[in-house]
């Protein structure tokens, strides 16, 4: 409690509005004692709970948890590398196809009319075997531009990764927050269910689901993928959110909210869930590559993304058929995908170190 008092004092000192009427207002805080502002959060951190200190820090000094995390993230070279690569790949897959269409006239499903062009050319090669910029990644067996297809595949793969992760976020947060908030028997039953589902070989069920209900339309298949992959990736998220909510729910701000008559649902979603965002963001960043990997497995098996759409998995699956003669059909989608997952994983690791220094293991 001593710590609270000290912070309250600092607060009073900081806010000039508290000076008695008629007296000269105190000079602005920063001019008067800049160093006080910086020392305050430090002893708060040293003495008590890091989280409360972080929140007070936001009020007192104006450097938030997020700004701090951002600074730590920028110091991590691998995470910055990951961020840049992911950024480039997202931008490229968004605007790349348009650029290719305007410069070379190729789209991802454009098959040349000239039958001499309907074959697989190596990268940077024109039909007469001379150097050419037209197809930097070569063409596939139908003469389609592989770069355009890899960029489309990137769009679909990233979309599946992000949307499925979002679905898993919604399920996981709702489930975990509910279990954590109510505790007791409800929590026990809900978490036992999670344990049970953990042990189930869910990929087998996803395979059955996609094989039985999939393959109608390309778009329907995409939605089935979002749903199926999201529905199996929420378990760890639920556990994380539950743990966070359990440690938060007995704090004063929840008591205050309850005292002012806020409903239970609002306490959970407006007061508790926003405070769990740090670990949730970290885990979501790491879920995206794992969902993308699962999508690519399914697409590789012919159960995922269907033609005319393509994902990195389905492109690689096409490429494998011709690995001996046209290795570039596999190498480019495969390497692009590996690079993206690699960067996303590094970014996720970096975010974890930045947002949760206690979890850092070095």
């Amino acid at each position: 409690m001593k710590e609270r008092e000290t912070l309250a004092e600092t607060d009073a000192e900081v806010q000039p509005a508290l000076t008695p009427l008629g007296t000269q207002p105190a000079p602005p805080v920063r001019e008067r004692a800049g160093d006080v502002i910086h020392t305050a959060p430090e002893f708060a951190v040293g003495e008590g709970d890091v989280r409360t200190a972080g929140e007070d820090l936001e009020v007192v000094a104006g450097t938030s948890l997020w700004k701090d995390a951002w600074r730590r993230l920028l110091r991590n070279k691998l995470a910055v590398f990951g961020m840049i690569v992911v950024g480039i790949i997202i931008v490229a897959s968004l605007i790349g196809p348009v650029i290719i269409r305007t410069t070379t006239g190729y789209t991802y499903d454009y098959i040349p009319q000239d039958s001499n062009l309907i074959k697989s050319f190596p990268p940077f090669t024109a039909p007469d075997s001379s150097f050419s910029w037209t197809h930097p990644m070569g063409t596939d067996t139908f003469g389609r531009d592989i770069l355009a297809r890899v960029l489309l595949g990137g769009r679909i793969s990233l979309m599946v990764g992000i949307i499925s992760t979002f679905v898993s976020l919604i399920i996981g947060i709702t489930y975990g927050a509910t279990a954590g908030f109510f505790g007791g028997r409800v929590d026990n039953i809900m978490m036992r269910i999670v344990d049970v589902i953990y042990a189930i070989p869910y990929m087998m069920i996803v395979i059955v689901l996609l094989a039985m209900f999939g393959g109608q339309t390309a778009l329907g298949q995409l939605f089935l993928l979002f749903f199926a992959l999201g529905a199996v990736s929420w378990l760890t998220m639920a556990r994380i959110v539950r743990g966070q909510v359990m440690s938060l729910k007995n704090q004063e701000f929840v008591l205050a909210a309850r005292a002012t008559g806020v409903s239970t649902g609002k306490i959970i979603f407006r007061h508790l869930v926003p405070n769990t965002l740090g670990p949730v963001i970290v885990y979501a960043t790491l879920t995206i590559p794992s969902v993308m990997l699962q999508e690519s497995f399914l697409s590789f098996l012919g159960l995922g993304v269907q033609a005319p759409l393509a994902s990195w998995g389905s492109l690689a699956s096409e490429g494998i058929q011709n690995i001996a003669i046209f290795p570039w059909q596999l190498i480019f989608p495969g390497v692009t995908m590996a690079l993206t997952l690699f960067s996303l994983n590094f970014l996720g690791d970096g975010l974890r170190d930045a947002l949760d220094p206690q979890m850092r293991k070095v």
Binding site: L78, V196, Y198, A199, I200, P201, Y202, M203, M204, I205, I207, V208, L209, A211, M212, F213, P289, L293, Q294, S296, F297, F300, L301, G302, L303, G313, A316, S317, G319, I320, I323, A324, P327, L330, I331, G334, V335, M337, A338, L339, L341, F342, N345, F346, K361, V362
Partner: protein, 306 residues
């Protein structure tokens, strides 16, 4: 301990029931049928087929029959591979998948623990950075990209190893599939071993062990590894579930007649008895295996009591 085992065994039953029911429901609810593949059948033929496979009976009867089959451990005949029993297919394909999975996991365990511990002994050294970057690459490189690349290099360019096909247990054909399958586990285990060992190596009992003058090798192998490798042990359960997805892909790349390959074909053919058989068998196997892992955990870590 015994109570724990019995309770877990009892929980296994409803879990298998849920999985099997879900699978059966999905197969049944899906539009179409296994016999409506190519052309429209004459009504009488269709009626005969439905009668032969018991599809004309009420759903609840069919469901009961399916459950009875599982209880008796006899999954009936495959619909696609005529006159082959599901049990026969399981018996034939299981050794392939198990060989693949066990070899891959053992390889991953040896290499992963070795690299991870080495990295943990010299944290932030060049060795640490390089091995962790390679491990991250292993996690990010899908095995359907790694496998064909290995084939391209070692079979089609260097002609060192056969590119595909099953050729019995000790054979050169196994090298590439096992490498492909184990890469991602190697990477995961190396990361787990590193972080586990790092934590343990800084603990008080390790300092005590060093202080009483034990050799560094004894400290690391006898004292640190026992606690530091616990995360690796607990990863074995989830790893098995992922190993199944992994074998599916690897068996397809290398054309191996394993369980995964049959499972995909059964799904594409809507071969219901085979799907149910494989799902039921694998879920029981996984649940029992998870139980074994938990028991092993209690032996390795004396702090854990059930």
């Amino acid at each position: 301990m015994l109570r724990f085992i019995i309770r877990r065994l009892v929980i296994t039953i409803p879990m298998v029931l849920i999985v099997v029911t879900l699978t059966w429901g999905l197969v049944r609810l899906a539009p179409g049928n296994f016999y409506t593949s190519e052309k429209q059948l004459p009504p009488t033929v269709e009626k005969n087929i439905r009668e032969k496979y018991g599809l004309d009976r009420p759903l609840i009867v069919q469901y009961g029959k399916m459950l009875g089959n599982i209880l008796r451990g006899d999954f009936g005949n495959s619909l696609k591979y005529q006159d082959q029993t599901v049990n026969g297919i399981l018996a034939r394909s299981l050794p392939v998948s198990v060989t693949l999975g066990v070899l891959a996991y053992l390889l991953a365990l040896c290499v992963g623990v070795f690299i991870g511990s080495l990295a943990a002994l010299k944290p932030n050294s060049r060795l640490d950075y390089v091995s962790m970057a390679v491990a991250m690459l292993g996690i990010s490189l899908p095995n359907f990209v790694l496998g064909p690349l290995l084939v391209l290099v070692f079979s089609l360019t260097l002609y060192w190893l056969p590119p595909a096909r099953w050729n019995g247990f000790p054979s050169w054909n196994l090298v590439l599939p096992v490498l492909t399958l184990s890469a991602i586990y190697m990477a995961y285990i190396a990361r787990l071993a590193r972080s586990g060992m790092l934590e343990v190596l800084r603990s008080d009992y390790i300092r005590t062990a060093r202080a009483k003058g034990l050799k560094e090798r004894v400290v690391v192998v006898r004292h640190a590894m026992r606690g530091g490798l616990l995360p690796v042990v607990s990863y074995t359960g989830p790893a098995l579930a992922f190993l199944i997805t992994g074998t599916v892909v690897v068996e397809r790349i290398f054309a191996l007649p394993g369980l995964g390959n049959y499972f995909i074909n059964a799904n594409l053919n809507r071969d219901e008895p085979l799907i149910i058989g494989i799902v039921a068998f694998l879920s029981i196997a996984i649940l029992l295996f998870n139980l074994l892992v938990d028991i092993a955990y209690a032996f390795i870590d004396p702090r854990i009591r059930y």
